[in-house]
């Protein structure tokens, strides 16, 4: 995909080709200067190439090299490793591969739960707040606060709340409700998974809320009027009109939530620091750890490429499945 993407815009610069296309355009008379659109796109294209696509290609090259700290200064001279880095990454019987596989499963579980909860809470809140009631505007602003807060400020507050001795969570669960025999550790050990999930949902659901809220405004009012005339109650209207009308919005929303959550680095990094506990070892942090702490960029790159391939496959399958029966123009 990226290879064609890189090639296409550069070969398409010929004015004759663009002119030929204009004839088939919707309203051909409008195009006066065929070079202009390319000029307008140029800054965006150059920057995306510089910061995303070129580094990505370099990353793929690096994944085939034995790029340890000795070669960082002049990484071109690092010896080729063939598929060595990949072999190390997917050798699930050896420690490196086993840790990566574990991290992958943790990330999948975490992502599914987080996206599901964010979507569910966001949609429920948006649908319930579709009609006006007293305090609605205030509540809406309040619900958007977790999304508006800078990640590190929000997550650092949660770090404080999850502290063993002086945190709010243990104070409520242990001191006040007496639910646990001992104050628990939240940021190390198995509990860290739930801590991470809580923070992720707290930060993430308002985005779903925001998008669904915007989507709701595009549902024509006549649909509800007609349904009401036919005697459909509130719940029926939600089930038969609101939720089906949100399908196109949901298709994009769930994908975006999935990609952001799966690749999330900021939340676990601020929550746990450089070394995440095993139970909450998300793959982004895992790769960061593998690259910058051990200075083995080759293996880190190989892991990143594998991650990208996985995301490409999932996205492709997802779009194919959810677009079935829908006009592609909607996407």
């Amino acid at each position: 995909m990226t290879a064609t993407a890189l090639k296409e815009p550069s070969v398409s610069g010929s004015p004759s080709g663009a002119a030929a296309r204009d004839q088939r355009g919707r309203r051909p008379g409008r195009i006066r200067r065929t070079g202009l659109p390319y000029l307008l796109l140029l800054p965006a294209l150059v920057l995306e190439l510089l910061v995303h696509l070129v580094p990505m290609v370099i990353g793929i090259v690096m994944s085939f090299k034995e790029l340890t700290q000795f070669y960082i200064r002049d990484w071109g001279t690092a010896p080729w490793a063939g598929l060595g880095n990949y072999r190390v990454s997917v050798d699930f019987d050896a420690p490196v591969g086993e840790a990566l596989l574990h991290s992958f499963f943790v990330t999948v579980g975490f992502t599914v739960l987080s996206v599901g909860l964010c979507w569910l809470i966001g949609t429920a809140a948006a649908v319930l707040m579709q009609d006006t009631f007293r305090g609605r505007g205030l509540l809406r602003a309040l619900f958007l606060v977790p999304y508006a807060l800078p990640v590190y400020a929000a997550v650092i507050t949660w770090v404080f709340m999850f502290q063993h001795d002086n945190g709010l969570v243990n104070h409520v669960l242990h001191d006040q409700l007496h639910l646990t025999d001992q104050p628990s550790f939240w940021l190390i050990g198995d509990n860290s998974f739930y801590a991470l999930l809580t923070v992720s949902v707290w930060k993430g659901w308002p985005f779903a809320f925001l998008i669904v809220m915007a989507g709701l405004q595009n549902i024509p009012r006549e649909l509800y009027e007609a349904a009401a005339l036919d005697g459909a109650g509130m719940w029926q209207q939600i089930r038969r009109i609101t939720l089906p009308s949100l399908r196109p919005v949901n298709q994009v929303l769930v994908l975006v939530l999935f990609l952001w959550t799966f690749n999330d680095f900021n939340t676990p990094y601020v929550l746990f620091g450089k070394a995440a506990p095993e139970a909450a070892d998300l793959v982004s942090v895992h790769i960061y750890q593998a690259s910058f702490v051990t200075w083995n960029f080759g293996t880190g790159s190989a892991m990143s490429v594998l991650l990208l391939l996985f995301l490409l496959v999932v996205t492709g399958v997802y779009l194919a499945l959810t677009s079935r029966g829908r006009r592609t123009a909607d996407v």
């Binding site: 995306e48 580094p55 809406r140 002086n166 009012r221 490429v305």
Partner: protein
């Protein structure tokens, strides 16, 4: 929010609906508010209150943490760095996105679909994948040309503005599409060039979308941690990294951490809440259409 939307149903909602709404919204309010309360109340507590067992109510209120935060770490310096980086990245990102979205919205040209798909698909890349190569690329460009990208604000600005570009372009395309073409065609007939039509007709008509995109770009740059932690040094450190300075000392000054978190949050949260109606309007007209 239009009147029509509010009076959606001519019937009064059933009580089952009203009760679910009350219960769910109350629970959500609690969930959202507890950390906010912890942040605000702890920032006003004396140190003893935040080192011992958690207290819902402070033993006494003090504004001491708000004074100390500026000397414990060079917070003002980080603040300035973040402001420069996020501000510049936002302005550049919005201008570039406006041009690109105008091209896609108003012209048909070869490679258009490839362009939009490519730009959007960069959203999918794990940051970690291009962090390492970008780090090396910046170092090497620096060695070869003397342009310091690594460790400089410029490098960070360049990086951040590409983070918000894809979403901004995507949203503005939708927004520009909703501005009637007859308007800018009339301007073209009146002798404006294409850029004149863009600046005088399309941009003013799309202000809500542009504001929304600017808010998004600023928030993205203000909150990013991963690249900031690798690509900055002592002089260019931003808040995202600098705020961690409070916790690496021997004592953890939780009251100061909360005060500093609040201080760095206020500009973005206030801006966001003031402009959120534009964001919803922008999303409605653009992205989710």
């Amino acid at each position: 929010m239009s009147e029509a939307q509010r009076l959606r149903s001519p019937m009064a909602p059933p009580s089952s609906f009203l009760w679910s709404r009350r219960i769910l919204l109350t629970l959500l309010t609690g969930f959202v508010l507890v950390p906010v309360y912890v942040m605000v109340s702890s920032s006003l507590k004396p140190l003893a209150d935040v080192t011992g067992r958690f207290r819902w109510l402070p033993s006494g209120l003090t504004i001491r943490p708000y004074i100390d935060i500026w000397s414990t770490v060079p917070l003002a310096h980080y603040f300035l760095n973040s402001l420069i980086v996020a501000g510049t990245a936002t302005v550049c990102s919005v201008v570039i996105a406006v041009f690109a979205a105008y091209a896609v919205s108003r012209y048909s040209f070869r490679g258009k679909r490839v362009f939009t798909v490519t730009v959007l698909s960069t959203q999918m890349f794990p940051g970690i994948l291009f962090l390492l190569p970008l780090f090396l690329l910046y170092v090497n460009i620096g060695n070869a040309t003397g342009i310091a990208l690594f460790g400089s604000r410029g490098g960070l600005i360049l990086t951040y503005l590409t983070f918000s570009l894809p979403f901004s372009i995507w949203m503005l395309i939708g927004y520009f599409d909703s501005v009637p073409r007859d308007l800018d065609e009339a301007a073209l007939v009146d002798g404006c060039g294409p850029l004149g039509a863009l600046l005088r007709i399309v941009v003013p008509a799309a202000i809500p979308g542009i504001v929304a995109v600017a808010v998004y770009a600023f928030m993205t740059a203000w909150g990013e941690v991963l690249f900031a932690s690798v690509m900055t040094d002592d002089t260019t450190r931003t808040l995202a990294v600098g705020l961690q300075g409070y916790s690496t000392l021997n004592d953890v000054y939780w009251n100061q951490i909360m005060a500093a978190s609040l201080v760095v949050s206020v500009p973005v949260v206030a801006g966001f809440l003031l402009l959120q109606r534009y964001l919803v309007a922008g999303l409605t007209a653009g992205a989710v259409k």
